[in-house]
């Protein structure tokens, strides 16, 4: 292996890679469809079944109404909003990786940003279903948008739900643009490389006439940087706004000022867990161990650990505020969380989100894939439980104890949740099959910097991005 000029890149690509081997490794997953074997089919089959379950649950929901779920009168929100917040949180890693890490010139993001962004998109799609379908009358849910109408009625801008509509739709738009702009050079590579006529036509259309000209690259860099700058505040704002759904309410257990930072940290935490959860198996199946290296996994585990500690601090503050408020309804809620009939959910949350992730302090365990994978599952479950503890468990207890009533979900709550998980993996697996999962040109750029080749090689390295080698 050539000794790199830039030692900081040394850890990012392993093995003896050339530009063509990178194109091969990544592009062939798309171009050579025979590479998708049983594991791919097994996952997409299960996911497809779950997508059908989703369609059935949504159909039944539209036909019958919210009553098929377990929501009741103290507990107006339950699985619907838990899942909304959970999915939105999962999306956050993608944006953080693509935007903030780009601005911070963290080159290691290059091998994971593409599919993290795809995850963001699909997670936001899953998330977006819930606020729409959780309304009693989803066919008029468009009233939440400020559209001009002859009734001259506007949404009520004081409501955090309206802020949500703006936050989430902006987030989705920015994410899809970011993802697509980043895809264009790679789509052009695929266009040039594909031998299949149909694939060539499709990729040609998608790559929007990219020729790899200097002008193209210039414009691309400008656009990408601008989008990154635009997306960066979104990482912080979207989940802050989501948290305001709770923080502005007078509900004991919701009315806490720490919610925005605590929710953002939680989102990044859950997002990185999900990225690792998907990355670990696919790097094995598609032989990308040299592109998504153990160093990547190690760093992601560190971010998880750091955000996890912020979240743990949030739990301490929640308890502190409950105690410091000193009112009977707040202390009763704390008691209820710690020792009520749902205490197992609370303590499982602490176990999953606070205790188990502490394993990541140990460098050896950060590089032990089964351990990391299990910690990621634990964090994903823990983050779901966190929302369960915050949303329905706070609503079950009231200012007037007469209204207290326990919540328990129905099968339809579970079906729809399972259905969105199925939808997410269905979309992810289609993405793996039909689009380059790792950013080819950025890896090649990285390889180039790593090898520290001459200006001549620079030109060579740039050329193939548009025109092949």
């Amino acid at each position: 292996m050539v000794r790199p000029d830039h030692p900081q890149f040394e850890l990012l690509i392993e093995g003896d890679q050339t530009y063509s081997s990178i194109d091969q490794k990544i592009g062939n997953v798309v171009l050579d469809q025979r590479r998708h074997k049983k594991p791919w089919y097994a996952v997409i089959f299960v996911a497809f079944l779950l997508v059908n379950l989703l369609l059935v649950s949504v159909g039944w929901l539209l036909y019958q109404g919210i009553g098929i779920w377990g929501n009741n009168i103290p507990t107006g929100w339950a699985f619907d909003i838990i899942n909304f917040v959970w999915w939105i949180g999962i999306g956050h890693a993608g944006t953080l990786i693509s935007a903030i890490l780009l601005l911070m010139r963290q080159q290691w993001r290059n091998s994971i940003n593409r599919f993290a962004e795809a995850m963001t998109l699909f997670a936001v799609m899953c998330a977006g279903m819930y606020p729409l379908l959780h309304t009693g009358r989803p066919w008029v849910a468009y009233w939440l948008f400020p559209y001009p109408n002859i009734m001259a009625v506007w949404p009520q801008f004081r409501s955090p739900l309206v802020w949500d509509v703006f936050a989430v739709s902006t987030y989705f738009t920015a994410s899809i643009l970011f993802w697509y702009v980043g895809l264009i050079p790679d789509l052009a590579t695929l266009r040039d490389k594909s031998t299949n006529r149909a694939a060539k036509v499709v990729f040609a259309m998608l790559s929007m006439g990219w020729r790899g000209a200097n002008k193209h690259w210039h414009r691309y860099e400008q656009a990408y940087l601008l989008l990154a700058a635009l997306s960066t505040p979104l990482v912080l704002s979207v989940h802050s706004i989501v948290s305001l759904d709770f923080a502005v309410a007078v509900v004991p257990g919701w009315n806490i000022t720490v919610f925005p930072p605590y929710f953002v940290a939680g989102a990044v935490y859950a997002g990185f867990a999900m990225v690792l959860l998907v990355a670990i198996p696919i790097r094995k199946v598609y032989g990308w161990k040299e592109l998504i290296t153990m160093n990547h996994i190690d760093w992601m585990a560190k971010i998880m650990l750091a955000t996890g500690l912020i979240v743990a601090y949030g739990y301490v503050l929640e308890a502190f505020y409950g105690w410091y408020a000193g009112t009977s309804s707040e202390t009763a809620l704390l008691n209820w969380r710690f020792s009520g009939p749902y205490k197992y959910d609370y303590w499982a949350l602490i176990l999953c989100n606070v205790i188990i992730p502490q394993l990541m302090w140990v460098p050896k365990l950060r590089r032990n894939l089964p351990v990391v994978w299990i910690v990621c599952i634990s964090v994903s479950v823990g983050m779901w439980l966190e929302r369960f503890v915050i949303i329905p468990m706070s609503l079950m207890r009231n200012y007037l104890p007469s209204s207290d009533y326990n919540y328990y979900p129905t099968k339809w709550d579970y079906f729809m949740f399972a259905g969105t998980i199925g939808f997410f993996f269905f979309m992810m697996w289609l993405f793996i099959r039909f689009l380059p999962v790792i950013n080819m040109f950025e890896i090649k750029d990285l390889l180039h910097k790593m090898k520290g080749e001459s200006a001549k090689a620079d030109r060579e390295a740039l050329a193939p991005a548009g025109g092949g080698e």
Binding site: G136, G326, S328
Partner: protein, 1048 residues
Amino acid sequence: MEAKEPKKLDLDAIRAKLASKQGPKYWRGLEEVAETPEFTAWLGDEFPNRSTLLQIDRRSLLKVMGASMALAGLSGCRGVFLDEEKIVPYVKQPEEMVLGKPLYFATAAPYPGYGVGFLVESREGRPLKIEGNPDHPESQGSTTAIHQAEILNFYDPDRSQNVMSQGEISTWDVFYAEASKMLADQKAKKGSGLRILTETIASPLLAEQIKDFLAVYPNAKWYQYDACGADSAKQAAVGAFGKPVNTIYDLKKAKVIVSLDSDFLMDGPGTLRYARDFADGRRVMGDNTEMNRLYAIESYPTITGASSDHRFRVRGSDIEAVAFALAAALGVQVNGSSQAAGISADNIAAIANDLRANHGAAVVIPGAHQSPNVHLLCHAINNGIGALGSTALLVPSFDESPQSQVAGLKELTDDLNGKRVDALLIIGGNPVYNAPVDFQFDRAIQNCPFTVHHSLYNDETSEKCVWHLPHTHFLEQWGDVRAYDGTISLIQPLIAPLFESRSAHQLFGVFLGKSEDGYALLKKSYEGKSLLVENSNVTGEMSTEAPKQRFENAWKKVLHDGVIPKTSYAPLSLPFIANAVQSITPRTPINGIEVILKADPTIGDGRHANNGWLQELAKPLIKTTWENTIILSPRTAQQYSLQTDDEAEVVVSAQSISGTVWIMPGHPDDSITIHLGYGRTKGGAVANGVGFNAYVLRHSDAMSFAAAESVKKTGDQSGDVAATQVHNTMEGRDLIRMGTVADYKKNPSLYEEEEHVHVDQTHPEFQSENVSLYPDEIFNYDGPQWGMTVDLNTCIGCNACVIACQAENNIPVVGKKQVLRAREMQWIRIDRYFTSPTDSGIHWDIGDFTPDPIADPTFSFQPVMCQHCEKAPCEPVCPVGATMHSHEGLNQMVYNRCVGTRYCSNNCPYKVRRFNFLNYTDNQAQFDATDEENPMRVPLLRLLNNPDVTVRGRGVMEKCTFCVQRINGVRIEAKKLGRDPKDGEIITACQQACPTKTIVFGNVADKDSKVSKIRGDKRAYQLLREVQTRPRVSYLGKIRNVNPEIKA
């Protein structure tokens, strides 16, 4: 293609299936019984014998299409040679009817032994809402929950619609023909084979008719039987005064009231009047702290006990010992021990002293279901303390037979079994369902060849009778009824009978060979009497008018007013027979565990079981709905290792029932209460299969209290009980302010300063309990500002407001499953809390009661409706602005704009918002639409809706509106007169129904209005003021007038 062989029918299986079906059942073919898939498919097909679509060829398709086109073209011929259907307005508008304006008619409802006068709202000919008649001595403008729910009974599609003869639809003419044959036979025998069974009647006309009938058939016998009537009182009256007289109470004069297991605030004749008089004696305002005092000694937690100043829980069969002890303490000569269980001798002495000190202004009221001995002792005590003739009055009864009702029914059963009865006329009632189980009335009745059941429902009794005759609802018949105090009300119909039904008066009119015209019968019966003309004070040229005209004027006035004035009974002054008490000895109390069987507080003895509003109404205090339960105290439950929601089996005299356990603090130990009225098998779509039938435990010798042979857990899970409130303590929060009279004198706000509230002496302005960063005046609008006050001191928790609101505001019934999911829709609810000095405050749910601290709690009520907060937390969180504030301070809900995010409900600290999780309004169809059992059912429930109130669809939020339709109705009328609505002119539905006038509504911006004055009272406070919502509803703290001599 193989020819498909028709499937063979398994005849044995069909026989077995037929045998397993109950009652008369018709089948269209053996295939239906076998329930073959072919038959099911045939049933499901709209055109069962058609070819499949694939078999239709082009030519036949064109033929069918052509025919359809031709027929479609015919519709253009309407008005040419077909009849033209037109909807036109009245050519001649009925007098006084203005479309869209309600009319009110006075009428009355008969109940066993008494009646209550109503004003019924009629809209375009439909009766829609029942209100109390202010002129009626019991109602005084108020109603109970059951009265409010009568309108739903009227529109009940399960009401009997046809004359039935042995299960087949028949006609009145056929019946009359058969009956006249039978009567002719009986005439020859002087009616010796003829028996009449009625409920305790209260109609002078019916009494007259039956007497006339018995004059024609002198050997016929007439029995009256109520399952949960006043039989004990009757027997005691015979013993004490030699005559079956009724005792009524004048609580206006009472300073001290002792209830011996009586739920006089909720149950029985006169209850509305008693509740009003009781509350009037407790209206503490300002410096006036004069209050009556109520001691409740009771075997089951009732609202009377909850409203009392001292409550003692005593087993039902031990109450008699308490009565003996109390009588002895008051100097009545009695036999037997004065050792009373459940209440100390000191406390008995203290109560006795209090009664003695208030001679002539005290009264002891026995519970209707208590033994005759208790009633007798109460007469003796009331005689001793000067209550007789003052607070306890004796009035005549329609049931003049000295025999007890149960003995009468026994005699009838024996006659039936001895085949001495040729014809039995059962007018009302449901004896097959509710007669004592040892009578086996359902079998006895089969021995009579001609049995007739004339009733509102085709029920269990109808099923066993040869004839079933549909009875009219009181809103569709003429009649009369006496109130608890004797005042006569006329029953006038609001609408022609919906079905082929007749009133009892019409029936006897035909039997007596008179008219079948109910109106004529009624009018004729009063024409002969002078009371109508003499009492109805029609002034003017009365003397100059012809007597006929005088009668007509008086008749009109009485019909208009609803009551015949001055017809209340003059109290009888009968001497008390002192020997009566000396001859009785206390019955030995039940050893071991007793079972108390009593009428259900919502559906009564089962007569209201098919009423969804009442089924879904949370029973007072225990808060369960849709079923009866095995109710016992925490300690007894622990003793039998039972938990709430366990299924338990109770055995009484070899009869057993199994039901779900419900643990109720405040219930006496070693005692089980089971409510009657459930487990109907032929009560209608709502009633059938709900709860279990406790009448199977009821033997004629133990009608109220029986010894349980065994109580054990069955181990089965019978499913959860749908309760509307499962958390029971206030958890130390400032929700209901309570105190004694002494506390009130010390601190009229009754507010206990919390320890952590720091009072800064240098800033006196922050010492007020209403410290706030917000300015005091948030609402600076001109015009009225609506507000409400609820005086917790007079609220008795009777639920009348809940059903009144449901009737007024088109609130749907959601069913047990939805109640279990906490989705009941009632806009106003009665919160009930238990308090106990040793209570730790935290109980996760009702199963967690530790027996001791909460065994004997104090109960308190708080009706909670939308508080119409000035700073309503629901408003800023709605993303579409569907809930907004009006400039008059109403928190308004715009149903059309609501998308149903439920955020408003999450953010409501009072949780008064209700969400249409499903299409509840259309789902009423489950109680309404046709079913295969009864293909003749007519969808009637949709006629019930109040046209002034929007019917809500699924997915929208709703809540109390302060009856905005009523506010606007009054405002429109006031505007026409060019003035503002007057104080007290706007009455909300809950306020109107309230028996104790606890709820006051009005303009809080007007400093002189009643509501402003009450809101400014020192006792007034707003719920959850610390949340800074600034509610427009104020509550007034509860005061208990405790007797310091009573020791806990």
